[in-house]
Symmetry: C2
Subunit: 179 residues, 2 copies
């Protein structure tokens, strides 16, 4: 099951590395630029669209989401790459009602992009029908892995959504209301 | 099959992005620091140990391999991360006979690290015996994907080896002789 392996790889090769360092990076950012992230905002918000439709620029997803600034990068020697860089982006989320934007560290779960592209490449032997099942399996597996790792508790928030069912304006209302 | 998905993810999420830009990064590097990479060296050499034992620092693998310098990084907006960084490291490879070091852009295939760690984590439901088969499947799948992508021909070299069978000094002789 592809999604099972991708969820494990996403944890072992990314979240396990970046989540324990997130608080340090937020503090480093605040010392330099001021306290823009509220308590709720001091987490990595991970978008998990079941359609696997992952855009590279979040502002194209929704006009209520605007790029703000990147956190300072984390540099790690990794598998022969010296100082491989891991970084996260802060976005402003505009809320229709309050009209007061919230800052939020937000990104897509990158492996879903691979799941999507595997369905487009016939050589990958992966059907579109299987894609939705795999996306849900990815989410369930990742949730279960992270629930069993006390060290990362409170440093992330998974945001799964079925964007095939729900409308185009799901993004900002969904995320801003969550926050 | 986990290795199949990881090979596709490695191509779709990494090699497809970095290999077409490699020549440009090499030229950028040469303009600034001089022509250290010979014609043969103008490729990404990817180590694929079937044991899945991937170290973070290549110089710990072998005293004949010494870190030289990083290529300039490639910055790409990716899945919500603004200016995500992709970079490669140049190493000096010392050859016992010639005693003349070669420069080489060298790294491990990172997903093998996840394969290794999945065997160590019982929750991942992955046995040590399956690991060797999966490493070989990863190699075969990756080789077959890359063979079918004309755009990346000549920009990489896969270096598979069975380091469970062969000795500890395999690394440098193997790589330097290959070069
Ligand atoms: N959002 C995000 N930011 C990151 O910096 C990052 N780094 C990894 N990941 C995701 O975690 C998982 C494990 O990563 P791993 O390094 O083992 O495999 C990676 C790795 O083998 C290779 N790769 C990707 N980016 C790089 C890179 N910058 N340098 C070297 N190798 C890379 O290609 C695989 C797939 O990458 P992504 O498809 O981007 O998603 C990965 C993957 O799902 C990231 N996700």
């Amino acid at each position: 099951n592809v999604a099972h392996g991708l969820a494990w790889s996403y944890y072992l090769g990314y979240l396990k590395i970046v989540l324990p360092k997130l608080e340090e990076k937020i503090n480093q950012y605040h010392r330099e630029y001021g306290n823009v992230l509220q308590q709720k905002g001091k987490k990595l918000y991970i978008l998990i669209p079941f359609s696997c439709k992952v855009l590279d620029k979040l502002e194209k997803v929704d006009t209520n989401i605007v790029f703000y600034q990147n956190l300072p990068e984390l540099l790690v020697d990794r598998a022969g790459i010296k100082s491989r860089s891991y970084k996260h982006s802060i976005y402003l989320i505009y809320d229709q009602k309050k009209q007061q934007p919230h800052h939020c560290i937000l990104e897509y779960a990158t492996p879903l992009r691979s799941l999507f592209e595997m369905t487009n490449d016939s050589a990958a032997a992966f059907s579109k029908e299987q894609r939705l099942d795999q996306a849900k399996l990815f989410y369930r597996t990742l949730k279960s892995i992270l629930n069993n790792v006390p060290e990362v508790t409170g440093s992330y928030r998974l945001i799964p959504y079925d964007d095939d069912l729900e409308g185009a304006e799901l993004g900002p209302h969904f995320v801003s209301e969550e926050i």
